[in-house]
């Protein structure tokens, strides 16, 4: 594939193939410029796409959020921060924030611990474990649209599978309106989200668990630690970086939740399952209050940004320090 002859005049391997051989500093400067241009040249396609279709639209939303604007022509009716003040007096939007917090709390309290339990169970030598892994993860590859339609039919009031199952085990009165009931719609939605997403977190944990050295748990076993102590004091600390990432992804996912809700309830009944993204969609694409919808986009971005920065600063910092200073010497 490549030449086998090794030169005794080695070039600087980690830098560029075009690095300094020239003696004069002018030649060197030219080479450095050339090297820089080559490197940046490789970035051009990605940069054009990224700036054009990710960064610029976001900046434009930031601009449009200060206008009353129907979405046609250029925004001209400047209203200052009115869209934002209106947003924080809007009961639907405040409800969105509350429901977002609720979903995050439920995910952290139920979905992720459940995923962890399943990961620990399937990390042992067990008959059929490959089948269970594949099965638990399978819903993750289905689109949200398919999942949504499937469960809107399973939870169809009266005639869906859920009500039939409850009826057949003598709990006929327990089932009900599911997605159509304001008090149960979020719980039902959370059930569907858990069905779809816990397998993803389980797979992350399984990958993390596989990098926990067996010697450590064996040593703890010899020292007389019980199963819970081994888990609590050996496995869990070593799994912490994975857990932190999984929490992060779960929170970001809750902030931007749209597809499932749109397909199943469109935010209903009477806004009781609406999310920020759904509200944004309603105002931006149904009611043509594009300035107001832009303000929702900006607030969503602000929440993501603040959360991501705070998380990086206070929670992920230790992981990143490990990564940059000891080249991931923590066994990851």
């Amino acid at each position: 594939m490549t030449s086998t002859f090794l030169p005794d005049r080695r070039t600087d391997s980690d830098v560029a193939p075009t690095s300094a051989t020239a003696a004069s500093s002018r030649g060197r400067a030219r080479r450095r410029l050339l090297n820089w241009l080559t490197a940046v040249g490789f970035q051009v396609p990605a940069l054009v796409l990224f700036i054009g279709l990710v960064i610029l639209p976001m900046l434009f939303a930031l601009y449009a959020a200060f206008f009353r604007w129907g979405g046609f022509g250029m925004p001209s009716d400047y209203v200052g921060g009115d869209n934002f003040t209106r947003l924080f007096q809007d009961d639907v939007f405040l409800g969105d924030l509350w429901r977002c917090l609720l979903l995050i709390a439920l995910s952290l309290a139920i979905q992720l611990p459940f995923a962890l339990a399943m990961a620990v169970a399937l990390n042992q030598r067990l008959r059929g474990r490959a089948v269970y892994r594949m099965l638990f993860f399978a819903p993750y590859v289905l689109s949200e649209a398919i999942t949504g339609v499937l469960f809107s039919m399973i939870f169809a009031p009266g005639d869906g599978l859920a009500d039939h199952v409850l009826g057949s085990i003598g709990l006929g009165g327990v089932g009900g309106e599911w997605f159509a009931d304001p008090s149960y719609v979020m719980a039902t939605l959370f059930l569907v989200m858990t069905w779809k997403y816990f397998g993803f977190h389980m797979m992350l944990y399984l990958a993390g668990l596989q990098s926990v050295p067996a010697e450590l748990t064996e040593a703890a076993l010899i020292d007389g630690a019980g199963p819970w102590q081994r888990f609590r004091n050996v496995t869990l600390p070593l799994l912490a970086p994975t857990l932190r990432i999984s929490v992060f992804l779960s929170v970001i996912g809750a902030i931007q939740l749209f597809d499932l809700v749109w397909v199943i309830t469109q935010g209903g009944p009477d806004h009781h399952s609406e999310t920020m993204a759904v509200t944004m969609f309603q105002y931006g694409f149904k009611r043509y209050q594009v300035g107001y919808a832009s303000a929702i986009s900006v607030v969503m971005f602000g929440i993501c940004l603040v959360f991501a920065l705070a998380y990086q600063r206070f929670v992920l910092r230790r992981d990143l320090e490990g990564a940059t200073t000891t080249m991931r010497g923590d066994g990851k």
Binding site: A138, W262, G284
Partner: protein, 277 residues
């Protein structure tokens, strides 16, 4: 500890796993069986096997051109997105991994910031931009933004992989007269095939399942992708449950088949992406 006591000890665990497994698989099996029933039989016989295996729901959908057009559109969009995002990311990741240049870390941070941008946040301004560029009802209007939003994760994964390739190879190639691009094209890319496979699988699955962007961009049913078709079909045949179930099952088949073939790349890519992001 004898084998027997061990088996008894793990019995509760097996019971739990079987229960969870049942909850996971019952909706899918129920949908598949329901597709073989008539809607009338669905409420009289919700659990059992169909009394008569009706194949009409399935064959009717497969026989109409609509379903295949959706599959074709989804495939076109997924393949084009994947080619663009992997090509652009590989070039960028190459520069990040193998060059030392001023501004490298800053630029890399700039790209990784994209991970904090959930797509929903940018959907509205993106729609306005696409309308301005006259890319609505045009597959490029979905392909290009999907590629742009896929860049951060793909660049991060590929950069990690490119860094592991020994520097000696690059020296040797340079001495043989290879240009930077020649090394990238003839040496690095062939060696990086497993990583390219991983990021491609991720891109295909993400594109295949995308709902919000096609929903915004494609108003003309001619360009609809599978997720849009599924949501639309339910609206159209909302009272004909059996038929919607059959449609759902057929719409699941490509994704599940792809998963069973590419499970390793998909799981590997997701876990690698998560732990490096």
């Amino acid at each position: 500890m004898t084998r027997k006591t061990k088996a008894v000890q793990s019995l509760p665990l097996h019971v739990v796993l079987v229960l969870v497994g049942a909850v996971m698989i019952v909706p899918l099996v129920y949908a598949a069986l329901s597709g073989f029933k008539s809607t009338a039989e669905l409420s009289s016989n919700p659990f059992g096997l169909p009394e008569h295996w009706l194949t009409g729901n399935y064959t009717g959908i497969l026989g109409s051109g609509d379903f295949w057009r959706l599959v074709g559109n989804s495939t076109l969009v997924a393949v084009a997105t994947t080619v663009i995002v992997v090509a652009a990311s590989a070039l960028a990741a190459f520069a990040f991994a193998r060059f030392a240049f001023r501004g490298r870390e800053l630029l890399f941070t700039f790209f990784t910031m994209g991970l904090m941008f959930p797509f929903a946040v940018a959907a509205l301004p993106l729609f306005l931009l696409l309308r301005y560029l006259d890319l609505l009802d045009n597959p490029l209007g979905v392909i290009l933004p999907q590629a742009a939003f896929g860049l951060p994760m793909t660049i991060i994964i590929l950069r990690g992989f490119f860094r592991q390739i020994p520097g000696e190879l690059e020296e040797a190639a340079t001495l043989d007269g290879c240009s930077a691009f020649g090394f990238f094209w003839r040496v690095l890319l062939p060696m990086a095939r497993p990583a390219l496979g991983t990021v491609s699988v991720l891109a295909v699955v993400t594109s295949w399942n995308n709902f919000m962007l096609p929903l915004l961009v494609f108003t003309d049913a001619k360009w609809w992708t599978l997720p849009l078709g599924v949501a639309q079909f339910q609206g159209q045949y909302s009272s004909d449950y059996a038929r919607v179930f059959a449609y759902l099952v057929l719409a699941m088949v490509p994704a599940l088949a792809f998963y069973s073939v590419a499970e390793r790349q998909l799981v590997g890519g997701l876990t690698a992406g998560a732990s490096k992001g």
